[in-house]
Symmetry: C2
Subunit: 455 residues, 2 copies
């Protein structure tokens, strides 16, 4: 397949690049670079020795380094910044988008950041300082200032002239943002419509005034949901007076969506969103241990529930082997509900208010699943242990506990959300805590009540 | 905030629309429609009565219905199709993108689909039949034929004339696909570069020949990873001879990413990807029960592991309360590894070959976590039960079983992937099956070995 062929070709190119660096052969470096995507070069470079990275920085021009910075991940960006002095950084920044510059500055140590910002020209410094002020995971932190915004009173002829002039410096050309005299956003114009309109028409006559916009404080997850819902190729960011501050392009939105989903899936199981398969063993351990300690507490709570029925278990040892069936099934059943609710929250389909109906529905699903599984388990246990009442008790415990699992699977993420926490935050650990403690308690309580029938 | 204000405004508009329909007031319907996004109308319409939906179909023109079809979800599309006869459907299709028409046809019953395709003009029928031949979740199933492809030998002047001509019918104008005389894809040209180039230059002189493309059979997940990696705004689909067949636009890619992530998260817990919070109780139960039945089997396996040690438990009842700490912690620890591996697989960061190092690393993480948790648990248990050896046994079991949990958390998704299954497919249920059975077995075996020390 085309794609796979290109991949191995990229590896060959990366090897040629390394040889060119070793020889200090700038011409060969330039020739190889012509055939590489910056993102593939960045990926290869992550594996290089420090000297090779430094050699690349000293041999290549600002244009290449700017492209490389835009493609690199945070770690490589910081490594590259280490090989470059402040003046070189500034000439590279001159070729980069503002949102990418801000991302790099935000990760540098505060001293270096301050030095670089102080060295910038006044106009540039003002914009960068403003962008640095927004939280990284808000619309303000994602936006770029490289867009085309034109006054609606312009004629199509003038508009096209301006677009040709500004276009090459922008991230997006297909949508032109239309402003009024107070620089307020009043609409958008599609380049297609501009190209076929009459020269003397005004821009506002062909613009669309149904604009979806966000404010700089809007959370990135909400921004991504709007872009995805309305199939936008960019979303404008405006202040309270509806003055256009910047735009967010769809490639950044895709990164947000990927990031948010990774976060949801990892946090569900109590893993930090910073952990990847490249994390070292000690990093992974350090990030996971805190939630395992929480889990240790919930596990001991379950253990205490059992311990308080030790005399019952001593009389009917079969309880020990059967109680784990109740908790095991309820835990997984609750996790089923949990995953449905967390996905709906992430897709913005679910709001907190009025979710009682939903919680009850999930409890109902648990109840019905509990009846089905309870009948199966009850029958099998009755036969194995030759005791009808043991089967009946496990049936009752299963029905109650699976209902509780459904209830908890819906409640835990909704409560975390209400507490302004990530709804996925270790919710699986909390859930199994609840289903274990209550599962053991209900089953063993029923057993204690009907003890004479079991012996 | 702007967005929220607009949302409640959308509700008011939807109410006005309903009143207009009741009165049969076409002028008011048109006026209200002007201020609504089709996607918001579609969402409102999902809640309408059948008569209201039918009334809308009979009162509104083809243009509105085409926009509505493109915005509607599968269920609403099928409802709308039910109110429209074949001829009306064809006049609406004439205003829609081919990929959207194919999606609708693919969901219609086979008879109706055949009727509609047979009524199409020959050229149209050929394209639609070809598109219908691709699987829904491949590049072929996602692509549209509404793009601009021009011969590289064209002058910029001619190219701009063609772009103005074809542009309004396309989904994307920012990227122009450049072909050679055999209609093979040889490059892409950026509209920005075209607008500022000299009239008499050729298109190929400003085009970029580093094109990322896919074949129609490429899986949609792989397509989305390429688009996200290279920040593309569209990806071309070519056949084996590199002839351009269609393009996939970024809005469809966002839908794919959302869908694939939903699938991963739900399947992890053993929930069908078709389940949403709007599913009825019985639908949910029907979709979840199969995996709970699998879980019933794994739960009984765990139960049998315990049952075979009943005589040991009868002598030391404390084992019953402490064994669940080992399995509870290992289960959640394994789920931590599971979620990291499944995310990496979904992000394309992980390949099967050469993953042994990774599997060993995850086992190491489990081992270290096991030592930490084992020391804590061992100490607490020693104190509570006043038995040092019980603490030692739980420490040993914890170390072994957490290592197994790390190993299984990495192996299960990788094995599912190797078996061409979704790596998330109920992997959490399989994992807790392994950690429960082995956890009980290891802990109780150790207890049986050192039984005299525990009594």
């Amino acid at each position: 397949m085309g794609v796979e062929m290109e991949r191995s070709q990229e590896e060959l190119l990366a090897e040629r690049m390394v040889r060119a660096l070793a020889r200090g052969d700038v011409a060969e470096l330039n020739a190889v670079y012509e055939h590489m995507h910056p993102i593939d070069l960045a990926e290869a470079m992550e594996e290089w020795e420090e000297e090779q990275q430094a050699q690349f920085c000293s041999l290549s021009d600002d244009e290449k380094l700017a492209e490389l910075f835009e493609a690199a991940d945070e770690k490589l960006q910081m490594e590259l910044a280490g090989y470059l002095d402040n003046n070189r950084m500034l000439t590279i920044f001159a070729r980069m988008q503002k949102d990418d510059i801000v991302d790099i500055l935000g990760n540098l140590r505060i001293n270096r950041r301050k030095q670089l910002v102080d060295l910038m020209r006044a106009g540039e410094r003002r914009i960068i300082t403003e962008l640095l002020g927004y939280e990284e995971d808000t619309a303000g932190g994602l936006m770029t200032t490289a867009y085309i915004a034109l006054n609606g009173r312009l004629t199509i002829e003038d508009a096209i002239r301006k677009i040709k002039e500004i276009g090459p410096k922008t991230e997006l050309i297909e949508t032109i943002f239309v402003l009024n005299h107070q620089k307020q956003l009043v609409g958008t114009a599609d380049l297609r419509d501009i190209l076929i309109a009459n020269d003397q028409d005004t821009l506002e006559s062909i613009s669309n005034d149904q604009v979806i916009w966000v404010e700089p404080e809007t959370d990135q997850e909400e921004v991504s949901l709007l872009v995805s819902k309305y199939d936008l190729n960019a979303i404008p960011v405006v202040n309270k007076r509806r003055v256009l501050l910047g735009i967010i392009t769809v490639d950044d939105i895709i990164d947000v969506i990927m990031e948010e989903h990774t976060e949801d899936m990892l946090q569900l199981a109590g893993v930090s969103k910073e952990e990847t398969i490249d994390s070292t063993v000690l990093e992974s351990v350090r990030r996971r241990l805190p939630w395992l300690c929480v889990n240790l507490i919930t596990a001991f709570l379950g253990s205490f529930a059992i311990k308080s029925f030790e005399t019952v278990i001593a009389q009917v040892v079969a309880l020990s082997a059967t109680m784990t069936i109740v908790t095991g099934l309820s835990g997984n059943s609750g996790n089923q509900t949990l995953s449905v609710i967390i996905r709906s929250l992430a897709l913005g389909e679910l709001e907190l208010k009025g979710s009682w109906k939903l919680i009850l529905k999930q409890a109902m699903v648990g109840l019905v699943d509990g009846v089905c599984m309870g009948i199966g388990t009850g029958l099998i246990v009755s036969v194995i242990y030759q005791n009808f009442y043991l089967g009946l008790i496990i049936f009752g415990a299963m029905v109650c506990n699976m209902m509780i699992a459904g209830l908890s699977g819906a409640l835990i993420p909704l409560v975390l959300k209400a507490l302004k926490q990530d709804p996925a935050l270790a919710s699986s650990i909390f859930l199994t805590g609840v289903t274990d403690v209550l599962g053991f308690f209900i089953f063993l309580s029923l057993a204690a009540l009907f003890l004479p029938l079991l012996m």
